[in-house]
C-alpha cells in the first residue's frame, strides 16, 4: 500500500488543480491529477477572460505556447434598457505587449494545455475518473474514493470547481446556498475573424471584453458578457441563482432575448452557434469561503470560493492559478516538515496572502453586499439611458437645461439625490 501512496492527489484538472500539480511535479513530488472529464477542460466553461499576471509568475511568457484567443485591448461597459444603451469604452495599447494584461480564451483548449504542462513536469494525469468521496483515517483525510478504488496521499487538494461536492464531503463547508452563487450560461457563436475585427473595431489579433447591465437580466442581479475569440464570440449572462429561483424567466430565453437586443444583434448577425454551456459562479466572496484547509486537505480555485465580482470586472482564473500556486507551496513546506495535519497546512493562509489572493478577497469583502441592490440592475441603467436620451433627443418641445434634465430623470425613476449619493459612496468604498 505504501508504494501506491502519492504525496498529493489533486482533484480537478482546471486552472487551480493543474497549476498545483505542475508546481509539485516540478519539485519531483509524486502527484496524481484526477479529472472527471474525458480530457481536462471538457467539463469547464467560463465567460471568457483570464488576467495574465498569475500564470506569468509561474510560466513566464506563457502566451508563446498556450492556446489563447485574443489579448484584450478594449473594455466596454454597457448599460441598457430594451431600446437604448449607453457604453463606456476604454482602450489601452500597453495591454497588447508583454506581459499582456489579460487574454480571452476558451477552456477546452486552455485547460487541456495547462494539464499537459503538469503531465510534462511529471504529474500523473488520470481522466474519466469521478472522485466520489474522501477517505478518512480518524479525523484526518488520507486519500480519495473513486468507484471501488481507494487512492492514498499525504494531502488531497480539492480543485473540483464551484459546485464542489468534495469540499462538502470533506467537511470544509456546508451546502452552497442560492444567494451565494450565480448561474452563468453562454453561447459560442462562430464568425470569421475579419468580421469580428470590423464589428468591434479591432486590429489584427486583439480582442474586446464587454460587460452589460440592465434589461438583459430583467432586474435580477447579474449582467451580460461578450468576449471576442479568434473565430467566435462568447455571449452570455450571469444571474444570481436565488434571483432565478424567485422569478419565472427561462435562462435560455433570456439569452435569446439578449442576442436579439438591438445593441447585440448586429454584432452576432450571421454567426453560427456552436455550443451552449453553463456553470455556477461562487459570488459571495469571503462570506462563503469554506475552511481553506483541514487535516490532509486543501481547497483551491472556485472550490474555495475564490472569485471576485465587482460588476465592472470579474476575476476567477487568476485567483484559481494563484491559489494553486499557494497550495503547491504549502504542500512542499508540509513535506519538508513532514506535517500534513491541519496545523502543518495552516501556512496555506500565509501563502494565499503572499500571492495576493486573500488580500484581494479581503479588500473586496463588502462588494457582494453592495452588488445585492436591485437599483444597480434596474434603476441606474434606466437613469443612464434616460438621461442620455434627454441629452441627444431634439424635438418641438421647449428645451430645459442639463441639470433640469438630470433632476427630471431622477424623479421619473423615483430616485432621490441622497440615495444616489449613498449608493455612490458605498460603491466607491466596496468596489
Amino acid at each position: 500500500m505504501a508504494e501506491d501512496k502519492f504525496t498529493a492527489i489533486v482533484v480537478g484538472a482546471g486552472p487551480a488543480g493543474s497549476t498545483a500539480a505542475y508546481l509539485l511535479a516540478r519539485e519531483g513530488l509524486d502527484v496524481l491529477l484526477i479529472e472527471k472529464g474525458d480530457t481536462p477542460g471538457s467539463k469547464n466553461m467560463f465567460g471568457g477572460r483570464m488576467y495574465s499576471y498569475a500564470l506569468n509568475r509561474i510560466m513566464p511568457d506563457f502566451w508563446e505556447e498556450a492556446p489563447l484567443e485574443r489579448p484584450v485591448a478594449r473594455e466596454i461597459i454597457t448599460l441598457m434598457d430594451d431600446e437604448k444603451s449607453v457604453s463606456v469604452t476604454y482602450r489601452d495599447e500597453n495591454w497588447l505587449h508583454p506581459p499582456y494584461h489579460s487574454w480571452v480564451l476558451l477552456r477546452a483548449d486552455f485547460d487541456a494545455w495547462l494539464a499537459s504542462k503538469a503531465e510534462e513536469a511529471g504529474a500523473l494525469l488520470a481522466c474519466n475518473i469521478l472522485v466520489d468521496d474522501v477517505v478518512w483515517d480518524g479525523d484526518r483525510i488520507v486519500g480519495i474514493q473513486a468507484g471501488d478504488d481507494q487512492l492514498l496521499a499525504d494531502v488531497v487538494i480539492c480543485a473540483d470547481g464551484a459546485n464542489s461536492l468534495l469540499t462538502e464531503k470533506a467537511g470544509l463547508r456546508n451546502r452552497l446556498l442560492p444567494h451565494q452563487v450565480a448561474t452563468g450560461f453562454k453561447q459560442v457563436i462562430e464568425l470569421p475573424p475579419e468580421t469580428i475585427n470590423q464589428r468591434f473595431q479591432l486590429n489584427g489579433s486583439e480582442g474586446v471584453a464587454q460587460l452589460f447591465a440592465g434589461s438583459c437580466t430583467r432586474g435580477m442581479q447579474g449582467g451580460g458578457f461578450l468576449y471576442t475569440n479568434k473565430n467566435s464570440i462568447s455571449l452570455g449572462l450571469v444571474i444570481k441563482s436565488s434571483d432565478l429561483q424567485h422569478n419565472q424567466y427561462y435562462p435560455a430565453e433570456l439569452l435569446e432575448d439578449f442576442k436579439a437586443h438591438p445593441t447585440i444583434a448586429p454584432l452576432v448577425a450571421d454567426g453560427r452557434e456552436a455550443e451552449y454551456s453553463a456553470h455556477l459562479v461562487p459570488e459571495a466572496g469571503l462570506e462563503m469561503a469554506p475552511r481553506l484547509f483541514g487535516s490532509g486537505i486543501l481547497a483551491a480555485g472556485d472550490a474555495a470560493g475564490l472569485v471576485i465580482n465587482l460588476g465592472y470586472l470579474v476575476r476567477g482564473m487568476d485567483l484559481a492559478i494563484a491559489s494553486g500556486e499557494a497550495a503547491a507551496r504549502t504542500v512542499i513546506q508540509a513535506r519538508t516538515n513532514n506535517d500534513f495535519s491541519a496545523e502543518g497546512l495552516s501556512i496555506y493562509q500565509q501563502f494565499l496572502q503572499e500571492t495576493a489572493v486573500l488580500t484581494a478577497m479581503e479588500t473586496y469583502r463588502q462588494a457582494p453586499r453592495f452588488l445585492d441592490n436591485r437599483r444597480l440592475y434596474e434603476v441606474y441603467p434606466a437613469l443612464a439611458t434616460g438621461l442620455l436620451s434627454r441629452m441627444f433627443t431634439v424635438d418641438e418641445t421647449s428645451p430645459v437645461h442639463l441639470m433640469t434634465k438630470a433632476l427630471n430623470e431622477l424623479k421619473k425613476n423615483e430616485m432621490g439625490l441622497t440615495r444616489l449619493i449613498g449608493d455612490a459612496w458605498k460603491g466607491g468604498r466596496s468596489l
Binding site: K43, N44, M45, L130, A146, P251, A252, E256, E273
Partner: protein
C-alpha cells in the same frame, strides 16, 4: 438570427449519454407537493418542464452546472455523471 429553442441550443453540444445510470434523481412525492417548482425556471438547459402540473424531467442534455442542486436540496439528488459520461465541452 433565428431565435433558438433550448432544445436547438442543446443540440449544438456533444454528449455521451449514460443509459444505465441517472446522475440526477427527484423525490417525486416532494415534487408533487412543491408549490413554486423553481427548478423549471432556473435550469439553463430547460430540463425541468411542467406537464399537467407535474414535473417532467430527464437528465440527458444536462450542462452539469448544479443550479438545481443548489436551489432544491430537498427533492433533487445530484451527482456528477460517472467518469466519461455527460457533456463534453469543445469550446468552454
Amino acid at each position: 438570427m433565428k431565435r433558438l429553442t433550448v432544445e436547438e441550443m442543446l443540440a449544438f453540444n456533444k454528449y455521451v449519454v449514460d443509459d444505465e445510470a441517472n446522475h440526477i434523481t427527484l423525490n417525486r412525492e416532494l415534487c408533487a407537493a412543491c408549490q413554486n417548482k423553481a427548478c423549471v425556471y432556473v435550469c439553463p438547459a430547460g430540463l425541468y418542464t411542467l406537464k399537467d402540473g407535474e414535473i417532467n424531467f430527464d437528465d440527458a442534455g444536462c450542462l452539469e452546472c448544479g443550479t438545481c442542486r443548489v436551489i432544491c436540496p430537498q427533492a433533487i439528488s445530484w451527482q456528477y455523471p460517472r467518469g466519461s459520461f455527460g457533456v463534453i465541452y469543445r469550446y468552454g
